[in-house]
Amino acid sequence: MKETFASTITQAKNTYQTRVHSLGVFGILLAFVVICAALALTTPRFLTVSNLTIILTQVSINALLAFGVTFVIITGGIDLSLGSMVAVTGVSAALFAHPDTYPLMVPLGIALAAGVAMGGFNGLVITKSKVPPFIVTLGTMTIGRGLALILSKGRPISNLSDAFNFMGGGQVFGIPFPIVILVVIFALCSILLRKTIWGRYMYAVGGNEQAARASGISVAKVKMLVYALSGALAALAGIVLTSRITTGQPNAGQGFELDAIAAAIIGGTSTSGGSGTMTGTLIGALLIGVISNGLDLLNVTSYYQEVVMGVIIIGAVVLDGLNRKG
């Protein structure tokens, strides 16, 4: 009896924590490194500081959205309204960001409030009505698009203040500001997920909602939180995007939700809920960004780009799956 037990202990390493937090990410990390190496070998311009900076800047918007949707997917939900929330929040920010009108905090605050309100609305309907998140957020996706058009009267809103344009176009010590936002938000999201009670509850709710409820967790509160977070991060993405293109575009962000969900899933977040990490999602977003940048550098025609992107996404997930099993 004791021998058997001892030998089980030697296997202790190969368990949950290690598997979820390193091995799970390992497959996708490997794919990422391989693709980066391949690009570095084919085009000398890939591995330059300026190109890597650009990749990070380009990735920041998708990564912000992907962090939000990672929370949602961990609880077993989905958020299809991300792209529309980017448009609504971007347009609302732009409306208050003309030069010499309001201080910077006003457009930022309004965009965040709009994002949290929309996300909160998602959460409220999902928890109160028991309608599947897929359907609810599909609805808000359309509502959001309409709201963005109403707010902007169907036209892009330009002429934004320099302070506002700093959010997407400025630099701190030579580092583009979107990268600073990306790093800070990544750290905050990781801490929230790994170190706080709410992160733990998210895993519990996504892993087994009944068991979470029976453990005394307020499932509704957790769900409200993740959808509101998703909205807040979409608002941040909306601010960065609007500031980067110095225009509030009502039709911005179309299809962004799919890229964000792809990043989370490539990063090892299970669509059935209960597992996923921010590190994985970040690598997923970087992978998508690197592929798109690399294919542009190689001047691959857009027709082929789409095919290559799809193949790599499937390949990465398959590789990750094989890694988990073996």
């Binding site: 650009i54 009267k153 330009s158 176009g169 940048n293 542009d296 001047n299 857009s302």
Partner: protein, 307 residues
């Protein structure tokens, strides 16, 4: 128009769903209008102008949004036919796929007028501009600025759409004329500012100072390219030209960040469309093809276009 536009679209869409509309035959001529996309600034301008003109002329419009779907557009035209409108104005989504709508209207004996872009099947009349010409004008300007020698980048719209195909065609005609102009790279920016900004950033990485000029097939993408070039400190060395002359682009031309844009006259397209339609309805003589010319907008003449 503040909140009226979406409300109107809603009401119009509801009406269009209801073929047994009592007001279908009033004293005023009733015109059904199906627009490509009410999320596009240019199209919205055309539509606004049509409304204005129709009101002045005492005609009633039912404007619906096809949301870039040819299928939806055909259904909308079918519902117009069922309502017994006097004429239909269509801003086609696609060259081939929107053609059945024309065939159906003609078969029902209802005149159909295409505005802004064409379908394969010939309608009763066409009002718009020749997109090939706009591409030609833009690339000619680049050739002039570069003295016929240099490296050019082209940013496409959605591949396969009429505007993309024709603007590319016009640009390539000019490129052929100037053997000194080399097309360095071309890629789709999907008519989107952010997308084309990323594209430009990546090109700056791979081609750097080799880039002499950029032709973007619409202003949104042109503005994106300008942003990327500005961030890289290269704008002064690269000529950027795009098409449509949206307010943002005009502003940029005035500031000198965008070198030129090509003005497509939305107001003219809208008002001429209504004019031609009313002529047809009132059985007056009309022109089968009304072409509204493009105009190049540069810093010298931008004041004429800025309202």
């Amino acid at each position: 128009m503040k909140f009226f536009l979406p409300a109107f679209i809603l009401v119009a869409a509801l009406i269009s769903c209801n073929p047994s509309n009592d007001n279908a035959k009033g004293d005023k001529p009733l015109i059904g209008v199906s627009m490509l996309s009410m999320q596009n600034e240019f199209i919205v301008s055309v539509s606004d102008e049509m409304e204005k003109k129709a009101e002045a002329a005492g005609a009633e419009l039912i404007v619906v949004d096809a949301e870039r779907s040819a299928l939806k557009q055909i259904e909308q035209v079918e519902s117009f036919i069922a309502q017994g409108v006097d004429a239909i104005i269509m801003n086609p989504c696609e060259v081939e796929a929107s053609s059945p709508a024309v065939t159906k209207a003609l078969a029902a004996g209802i005149p159909i007028i295409n505005v802004n872009s064409a379908t394969a099947t010939k309608p009763t009349a066409f009002v718009g501009s020749d997109d090939v010409e706009s591409g030609r004008i833009a690339m000619e300007y680049i050739a002039k600025r570069l003295d016929g020698k240099g490296n050019v980048i082209m940013i496409h719209g959605y591949m396969g759409q009429a505007a993309q195909i024709q603007r590319e065609q016009g640009a390539r005609e000019v490129l052929k004329k100037y053997p000194g102009l080399k097309l360095l790279a071309h890629q789709t920016g999907e008519w989107d500012r952010a997308k084309s900004m990323s594209l430009m950033e990546n090109w700056i990485q791979s081609y750097g100072n080799k880039i002499n000029a950029v032709f973007a097939q619409n202003d949104e993408m042109g503005m994106g390219a300008v942003k990327a070039l500005e961030a890289a400190g290269m704008k002064s060395k690269v000529v950027v030209v795009s098409i449509d002359a949206i307010p943002d682009a005009l502003q940029a031309v005035k500031k000198g960040t965008l070198d030129a844009t090509v003005f497509q006259n939305a107001a003219q397209q809208g008002s001429q469309a209504i004019e031609t339609t009313l002529k047809i309805v009132n059985k007056q003589p009309y022109k089968k093809e009304v072409l509204i010319p493009f105009q190049l907008v540069t810093m010298e003449n931008v004041a004429e276009f800025k309202k």
